[in-house]
């Protein structure tokens, strides 16, 4: 497993631990495993503001946001929003 795959696996593991229903699409934007784009679909976002949704993702990722992840472009959708998208 290369570095990018290892980080990807860890991001998914942490997000699923916090949001077991999450559908996660990750892209390593720079192939350096530190700039990521994530689309996260979960019913946990239901009724939450964009700020609250992103905070939930940041909280799930914990100290990864202070080390291996330098930048994270996020799209947070409920299952209903994902169907429309």
């Amino acid at each position: 497993m290369n570095a990018s795959q290892a980080i990807e696996t860890e991001i998914e593991r942490r997000l699923r631990a916090a949001m077991p229903d999450a559908r996660i699409e990750l892209r390593d934007l720079t192939s350096t495993a530190d700039h990521w784009q994530a689309v996260v679909v979960s019913a946990a976002f239901e009724g939450k503001t964009p700020v609250a949704r992103q905070r939930a993702v940041f909280a799930a990722l914990g100290e990864m946001m202070h080390g291996p992840i330098h930048a994270l472009t996020l799209k947070t959708l409920t299952p209903a929003q994902a169907r429309q998208a």
Partner: protein
């Protein structure tokens, strides 16, 4: 967080209607995400203050803790945390940001 640091951030946010905590300056952003929010604000035509968090390590950590938000840029409007690059860009695309400044 240190009380003096907290007050410093609080004062900055409350004394500026619109303030962007960013990497670099609006004239010379040092990160693509900060640059994008500068472009959005310039396009909306709103006047804003900015703070370069790269110039001050204590503020860099303090502002993150203040908002419970781990990344920059961070936009505040009338004392309220609006979000980072993704949220500001999305609000710009759907017109919410323009509406927010019309009220402000």
């Amino acid at each position: 967080m240190d009380e003096i640091l907290h007050k410093r951030i609080d004062d900055l946010i409350k004394s500026n209607d619109v303030i962007l905590f960013m990497k670099g300056s609006p004239q010379a952003p040092q990160c693509g995400f900060s640059a994008r929010v500068v472009d959005v604000l310039d396009d909306v035509g709103v006047k804003y203050a900015s703070f370069n968090i790269l110039s001050d390590a204590e503020m860099r950590q303090g502002v993150k803790d203040y908002a419970n938000w781990p990344t920059f840029p961070q936009l505040y409007v009338q004392g309220e945390f609006i979000g980072g690059c993704d949220i500001v860009t999305e609000m710009y695309a759907n017109g919410e940001l323009q509406a927010l400044f019309k009220q402000a």
